[in-house]
């Protein structure tokens, strides 16, 4: 934390940390969508230490009915999950996802960036019309970088909206990810005897790339 004395001396002093904290609190509170650190920095007075203010704020809300959570590079206030039962009135009925859509979503989340061919290889059926469409419409997936393999296929990755919806800080927090990786089930294993065209080389390193 900055020394208060020092702050007093500077010409355009940043407000005290406690004040920065309540400023972050107000902005996060007012906004239904997660707010980026950059956006907070643009709103708070010059010289504010937003990451520190957020850390303090998060601590302050520990164990409360409302929590301060990190979603990718953004922050948001959300009610504590154990109190969901109080909120029946607020529950929004979401359209039920088909089994195909759920599996496709999971494959994209755990294998990202995932091409359509990879999704089909894992599920053993072609991706049906409307499945990708639906997931894009929910803004749970988006286009990733094209694969550097023949045909340069488009890839899909999950979005911050997905992370926010499932209460994940990063895609690394996906349930069971470590076990799957340890069991080798996230590898792109070529069928024996087939020269593996599409994605033998670069799929693993790209997994969960930082942006």
């Amino acid at each position: 934390m900055q020394d208060p004395e020092e702050i007093e001396q500077s010409l355009f002093e940043a407000p005290p940390m406690a004040e920065q904290e309540r400023m972050c609190e107000a902005v996060l509170f007012a906004s239904a969508d997660p707010v980026s650190v950059r956006d907070l920095e643009a709103r708070l007075p010059h010289g504010s230490d937003v990451p520190q203010a957020l850390t303090l704020l998060q601590k302050r809300y520990e164990g409360r009915g409302v929590r301060v959570v990190k979603v990718g590079d953004t922050w948001a206030m959300r009610t504590a999950p154990d109190l969901g039962f109080l909120m029946q009135k607020e529950t929004v009925e979401t359209r039920k996802l088909s089994r195909a859509a759920i599996e496709t979503l999971a494959i994209i989340a755990y294998h990202q960036p995932a091409t359509r061919a990879e999704i089909e290889e894992i599920r053993g059926v072609s991706v049906s019309r409307g499945t990708i469409d639906q997931l894009l419409g929910l803004e749970w997936i988006r286009l990733g970088r094209r694969k550097m393999t023949p045909g340069r296929p488009v890839t899909f990755v999950v979005t911050p909206v997905f992370l926010d919806h499932f209460g994940l800080e990063t895609a690394r927090d996906l349930p069971g990810l470590k076990e799957l990786r340890a069991a080798g089930l996230l590898e792109n294993r070529p069928p024996p005897g087939e020269a593996f065209g599409e994605d033998a080389d670069d799929s693993q390193p790209e997994l969960f790339e930082e942006d």
Binding site: F29, A30, S31, A32, D33, R67, A76, M77, R78, T79, A80, P81, L83, G84, M87, E90, T91, V92, T94, L97, R99, A100, I102, E103, L105, A106, I107, A109, Y110, I122, R123, G124, V125, D133, L136, G137, E139, R142, L143, D164, H165, F166, G167, L168, L174, P175, G176, L177, L180, A183, L185, R189, P191, P192, G193
Partner: protein, 263 residues
């Protein structure tokens, strides 16, 4: 089942029952891999220790039974059946050292891997959907902020809007009635008509290429079409006795000559 084609398999009653249970709702399965995964559960073992041979047998029973019941099976079910029959033979016969390609064991191991991976993805998909979810288990701020100071309009569009917009424009033209694009096709009728007019001047052996119509020799597509139709027309004229045709060796120019004293 006296006329069972798979005599070597002593198909067990339980296999039959399992297969019949599956067949009742073929449409409920998402493809052959899904059926295999379901069948593998009847073995009640760890997917890594599954008997692929048994599984192949169970699947073939399933397909055979479906055929008997005259159920519509999508092509990929039959492709899988053929592949499993092949795999089964590889697993049963001693390896042939002269044979190329992966061994039966390798193929079986890969199938087991695919099944295990599909099962794993289903498991994590279920875990994912059971996560605490926004709007169900935890909630965002419910109330719009009441301070309305600056009202700026922000225009927005999603990626889906963008892609669908593009697709809409680019496919608008696709719905004209179906016609073959024929600008680059020189028909045999056209060639025949042209050759009949020209053949009177062909007293000496002449390269067929020189008979090609004007403007059809610079574009490869047009040249091919014109060459093919001119050649076909030439053969027709030979048959009618108007022309002689020769080629000195493979890929040499094809030459034409008028037959003297036309009958």
């Amino acid at each position: 089942m006296s006329d069972n084609l798979f005599q070597e398999d002593k198909v067990s009653v339980t296999d039959r029952l399992a297969a019949e249970a599956l067949i009742i709702d073929v449409d409920g399965y998402e493809g052959p891999l899904d059926v295999l995964l379901t069948l593998s559960r009847t073995q009640k073992v760890d997917l890594r220790k599954i008997s692929v041979l048994d599984l192949a047998r169970q699947y073939l029973v399933f397909v055979e039974k479906a055929k008997e019941l005259r159920l519509e099976l999508a092509a990929d079910y039959l492709v899988m059946a053929a592949w499993l029959a092949f795999l089964k033979s590889r697993l049963l016969l001693p390896p042939d050292p002269t044979e190329e390609g992966p061994s039966g064991e390798e193929l079986a191991a890969h199938l087991a891997f695919q099944l295990e991976r599909l099962q794993a993805m289903r498991d994590v998909a279920a875990r994912l959907m059971a996560c605490d979810r926004l709007g169900r288990d935890f909630f965002a701020r419910g109330q719009g902020e009441d301070v309305t100071r600056i009202k700026t309009v922000r225009y927005t569009a999603t990626l889906l809007d963008l892609m669908q917009g593009y697709a809409r424009i680019r496919t608008r033209d696709d719905f004209r009635p179906f016609v073959m694009d024929r600008e680059s096709v020189f028909t045999m009728e056209q060639a025949l008509e042209r050759m009949r007019g020209l053949i009177g001047y062909g007293g000496r052996w002449t390269d067929m290429a020189s008979y090609l119509p004007e403007g059809w020799d610079n574009d490869p597509v047009r040249r091919r079409s014109a060459t093919a139709s001119t050649f076909a027309a030439s053969l027709e004229l030979v048959k009618e006795g108007h022309l002689e045709i020769r080629q000195s060796e493979v890929f040499a120019p094809i030459e034409l000559r008028k037959v003297d004293g036309t009958k």
